[in-house]
Each structure stands twice: as C-alpha cells, then as structure tokens.
Amino acid sequence: MAEFSIDRFVDRYARRTQGMSASEVRALFAVASRPEVVSLAGGMPFVQALPSEDVLEVVRQVLDEHGSLALQYGGGQGHVALRERLTTLMLEEGVAGDPEDMVITTGAQQALDLVGKIFIDPGDLIAVEAPAYVGALTAFSAYEPRYLQIDLDDEGMNVDQLEEAFVRGERPKFVYTCPNFGNPAGVTLSYARRQRLASLCREAGVPIVEDNPYGMLRFEGEAIPALRTLDPDNVIYLGTVSKVFSPGVRVGWALAEQSVIQRLVLAKEAADLCGSSFNMLVTERYFAGDRWRVNLATLVDTYRARRDAMLEAIGETFPDGAKWTNPAGGFYVWVTLPGWVDTRAMLAAAVERRVAYVPGTAFYPDGRGTNQMRLAFCYPTEERIRDGVARLGALLADEGQLYRSLGG
C-alpha cells in the first residue's frame, strides 16, 4: 500500500498558508472571463482611455534623459523625483506631505502587505471596516491577525461600534478603512465621522490606515478632507496611481511619520530591494505637466456615465427587497439582497446567463455577506452594463420564484 501525497512538502508549509485554498468562486471566474460574459466582477480600470501617444512620449523621455538611471537598481524608499511629484499630486486632494515621509511601493497592495508585516503578530487584533477590500484582508491575513469588524452604512464606517470596542478595552493594532467610495461598498466616510474616528483613535493610541485609491475619481460633490489631514501623526496614508494612470506600472506609496516609514523601507528592501526604477520614472514624467488632468477628466466622465447606467438599470430591473449603495465616485455599487439569497451559490446560474459579479462573502473575514454582491461599473461599456444588470435582475426574479416554490 502506498500513501499518496499530492504535495510532498505538505508538512513543511507555514501555518499561514492554510487559508490559501482552491475555491469554487475562482473556478467560476475562469468561465466569466469569456468575452460573451458581462463581467461586473473585476475592478479593472478602463486603461483604453489613456492615449498611447502620451505614454510613448513619457517613456521616450525617460530613456532619453535618464536611461542609465531607469535601467538600474534604486534606493528602497523610491526615486526622490517621483516622491516629490507625488506630494504635489496628493495636494490635489488637500493632503500635505514631505517626500522624506514617503515610501514608494509596488502598488498600494504592497503597502498593505508591508503594513501587516510591521504591525501584526499572530493573534493580534486589527480593526477593519466590514465589508472591506478583499486584497487588504488577504494581505493582512498572512500575518494571522484576529479581526474586529466595524460595520459600514451610507456614511461609511460606524464609528460608534469602534468606540464601544475601545470602551470594552479592545486596542487593535490599527484601524483599516477605505474612506472615499470604498471597495467594495462604494460609500464615503462622512466628515463628522472622520473627525470622530480621528479623535477616537488619537485618544486610544491606535493608528489609522487610510487607503485612498479612488479619491480622485469623484463624480460630484465636494471632496471631504482626508483623515491624514485631520491627524497627520496618527494616520498611515496609502495612495496609488493605478486608478488615475495605470495599474500596470505598479506604483503606489505610503505616507506616514518617519518612525513608520523607516520600518516600511526596511521591510520593502527585505521584500524586493527596490521598486522598478523604470516605472517610477515613467510615472514621474506622466504627472509632470498637465496632460494627466485631461486624461483624468475623461476617465471621470466615463466612469460617471457608467455609474449612472448601472444605477438606472438596477433601479429598473432589481426586485423589491434589494438595497444598493449610491457611490459618488470610484468603481463599485454594493447590493444587499433579501436574506434567503445566497450570492455565492447563485454565481453559477449568473455565469450561465452570461453575467458575473463578486459574491459578498469575499469581503468579510468570517463568512458574512452571503446575501450581498459587489458590482463594478468601471470596465464594461454602458450598454453592456445595462445588459448585464438586466440579466441579473431577471435571474433574481427567477430565484425569488424558486424560493417561494420551496415554501419560502
């Protein structure tokens, strides 16, 4: 008799890999990537809107002017020219920062990983909004935290719940939030709550991790001051050019006080020595001058029209009992359905009808969200969005009929 081990290193892997397993949802996404399926699942920026001649021009400039620099290793903190450029970019949202207090990362995703690495010991408590960006949860989970989940409503994170936890004596290592048109809920943390969150965390001595990938994709209304501006010393601010330029260059950053930045730089160097010099310099050149403003305005107009198409279609086709958020920017609408709907089980039927979404459970660490789904309006055209949403609406109506036929 032979015992078969599919993976001969199975007893060698670290405990933190145990949560990494094959999933049915991922299997279904393999089908959803077919062109005839309207994917409302992925949050892919509409990079086609970026004029390729603009990119070509900056790439040529970089090679002409800084060729040897661009093709060489750089420092772990990232090129100073880019850090300076990004501080001016952040000022567009009223966030002031010193280039010395910044580290360039491989997308903001790496910053999330590095934050986890320097703050979380196994078993530590961290507070996250619920639902929260799935990529943040997977980055943090590798460091084996316990989660304190703070519910969201239309004004963003329910700060009362956090206060109650503080009163109970809980002291999470940090609080994670995506306050502007957040992923996945599309809601924005109100100014009043930002002020309360900042002062609560300051009093409790708990740092805030403010993840702001979508802030510059505002479709209407006035921008709300960043948490970072309310309490610069206590907020680790994460930015990215993925949504305003290109996710392909993998340029993000963290802005925090020196003690944090020094640790992040060491962690970054341990992970990958330094970011891509070439991509950093290309990004720096792209944000020099004003062409990026024109391109960003085009993107915002495109996303606004797509958001409008999605909200209108949802209103027309989704059954009674469905609730959804009304994002003033960003990429996502978050839908809450009656409690009997299981969006994970329903995904197969949705893909069969040629539409895909992300089931809500992905965005909670504890399996909640079975009756919720994230719909992304960033990538498909308005017409495709209307088609896709209508297919989902029809499916939900059929599921309702089926549910009632089963005695529900």
Binding site: F4, V31, A345, L347, A349, E399, Q401, L406
Partner: protein, 311 residues
C-alpha cells in the same frame, strides 16, 4: 499519430480540464505522437479540427459539453475517432438522475435518492412535497446538481430546514437536484481502463476537513490518498467487482472512474461514474495507475489502444 487533445471549454471545470489536457498532451508527445491542445473556448472547434486534421481526438474536457455527449456527437458526425464513451451513454452517465436509475436497474447499489426539478418546483408545486423527500431519503443527506462535476454546487444537509437553500444551490448549476442519503463509510475511487475496462487498484480518499469538496479536491495537501485502499480483502474485491459492473451496465468505454463509498459492513455504494476522469497532479486516476505501476504515459497509451482497437 496526429492527436488533438480537447481541453478547456466553457465550464467551471475549465482550469482543471486545461491542467488535465496539458498533462495528457505531454504524455502523448513522450509516446511519440504529434499531439496538440484544442480549446473549444478559444476557437470554434469544428474550424480547429478542419485546420489541423487530427487522426484522433483525446477528450480531456470536464463538465457539461465535454462529458454530456455534446462533443462526442459532434466528433461522430465529423467521422473523427475519439477516446472514451459514446454520446448516448455519456448523456446518461453524466446525468445523475439517469445514471443512478440505470445503476439501480443493473443491480448496483447506489444510495437512496430523490429528484427535485426546477420545472417541477415552478410549474407543479413540487415544493410542497419536500417533506416526502426527507422521509424517503432521511437525514443527513447530500444535495447535488444532477449535471455537474468536481463537487460544485454540492451541499451536505443535517437538518430539514437547510434543504431549500441546498436545493437552490444545486439548481444554480443544473435543472435538477439529486437529494441522496449520506452513506457513512470509506470514500474510494476505482479507475477502469482499456478495451476490457480492467480495474486499477482502488484509491481511498481521506479529506482532512471531512468533506471531499472542491477545495479538498484541488488544494494540494488538503486530502490524503491511499492506494490500494485500506479495505479488508473481501471488501476490496467486492468494490472492484461492483465498479466493473457499474461501468459495464452504463456501457462505458476506454477509461472511466467510479466513485463510491464502502460502508462499515464492507458494502460498496456507487455515487457516480465519470466518463472523463481528471488527469491533473491531484487527480485520482493517475494515482491509481501509479499504484498499478503505470506511468501517466502508460495510462494514455492504454486509452489510445483501446480507442484504436474499436475504430
């Protein structure tokens, strides 16, 4: 020979199938054949076949279309020999509603079951008969889509109140759900290969988390396997005999895998048969072949010879 390996397709098992197909293609190349992958989702299949004119098609498609007779019928129309079971028998084998009935008629034990059809629920008020299902099948039970693979859409039900949600989950994958009694016992798979469908040593499946679900199947290390299965001598022989009876009853060809449970009394209960068993690194059939001293190339060669002997 020039062999088109059909893999991929438009089902949730697409990734698994592509992995199976790659391994089959490599093995066929090792055997000296000119083998290449054909993914029906990449390009229209008929055009792909006309462009490169294979002598034979090796089917490594999993799930609907690949296992339900659709592709087989098309290849038959094109006069192209293909590995595995013919269209009509595929259609029966792939559909648990039909296959379980056919097995029972052939005297093969399969756990007690009932069927819930989407159309019966919508049009005939079948929901009011759910309590009858619980009475007949008993609890705990397993709810499965009638036409799907890799344990997708499968739910274990402990309490009657969980049944409606489990039925809806299964119906998301297929027009009918099979509600089956949960037999306690040792989970085994028996591979059969060649013109006479000779049984390979049974593989015993021990999922670490208890259930052999999608994650347990495709996450390396999530399940332990033993081959030959650790069954008492009589039970092992009985299992092999029953698997063979099941395969012959359903008139399967060339290669198949019979999934079963052996209860505490050593009695085998057949759960399903697979006309296109997985050939990935974590698949059961290559494991069984290995236990029999065969490489993956040997296995593919046996399948090929069986196909050629027929045509």
């Amino acid at each position: 020979m020039r062999i088109g390996v059909l893999a991929g397709g438009r089902t949730p098992e697409r990734d698994v199938s592509l992995r199976s197909g790659h391994r089959v293609m490599t093995s066929l190349s090792e055997l000296g054949h000119d083998a290449w992958l054909l993914d029906p989702a990449d390009a229209p299949l008929v055009e792909g076949l006309r462009a490169r004119r294979p002598d034979l098609c090796y089917l490594a498609l999993h799930g609907k279309e690949g296992e339900d007779g659709t592709v087989q019928r098309l290849l038959h129309l094109l006069d192209l020999p293909f590995t595995g079971t013919a269209a009509f028998e595929c259609e029966i084998a792939f559909d648990k509603v039909l296959a379980k009935d056919a097995l029972r008629r052939a005297g093969v034990d399969t756990p007690v079951w009932a069927v819930v059809e989407d159309s019966a629920l919508r049009d005939l008020g079948a929901g009011a008969a759910l309590d009858r299902i619980v009475d007949r099948v008993g609890l705990p039970c397993v709810v499965k889509p009638s036409r799907s693979g890799s344990a997708l859409g499968v739910t274990f039900v402990e309490h009657a109140t969980q049944l409606p949600a489990a039925v809806m989950a299964a119906l998301s994958f297929s027009g009918a759900a099979v509600v089956e009694r949960k037999v306690e016992g040792t989970e085994v798979a028996v591979g059969l290969v060649g013109a006479e469908l000779e049984a390979l040593p049974a593989v015993e499946i021990v999922p670490k988390n208890g259930a052999y679900d999608y994650a347990a199947r495709y996450t390396a290390g999530a399940t332990e396997y033993f081959s030959p299965a650790r069954l008492p001598g009589d039970a092992a022989a009985e299992m092999t005999e029953v698997a063979s009876r099941a395969a012959h009853a359903l008139r399967l060809r060339d290669v198949t895998r019979v999934d079963a449970l052996v209860d505490a009394d050593g009695r085998p209960w057949v759960l399903e048969v697979n006309v296109s068993p997985g050939m990935t690194e974590t698949s059961l059939l290559p494991m069984a072949a290995h236990a029999a001293g065969m490489s993956l190339a040997d296995l593919c060669d046996r399948v090929l010879r069986s196909t050629l002997a027929r045509s």
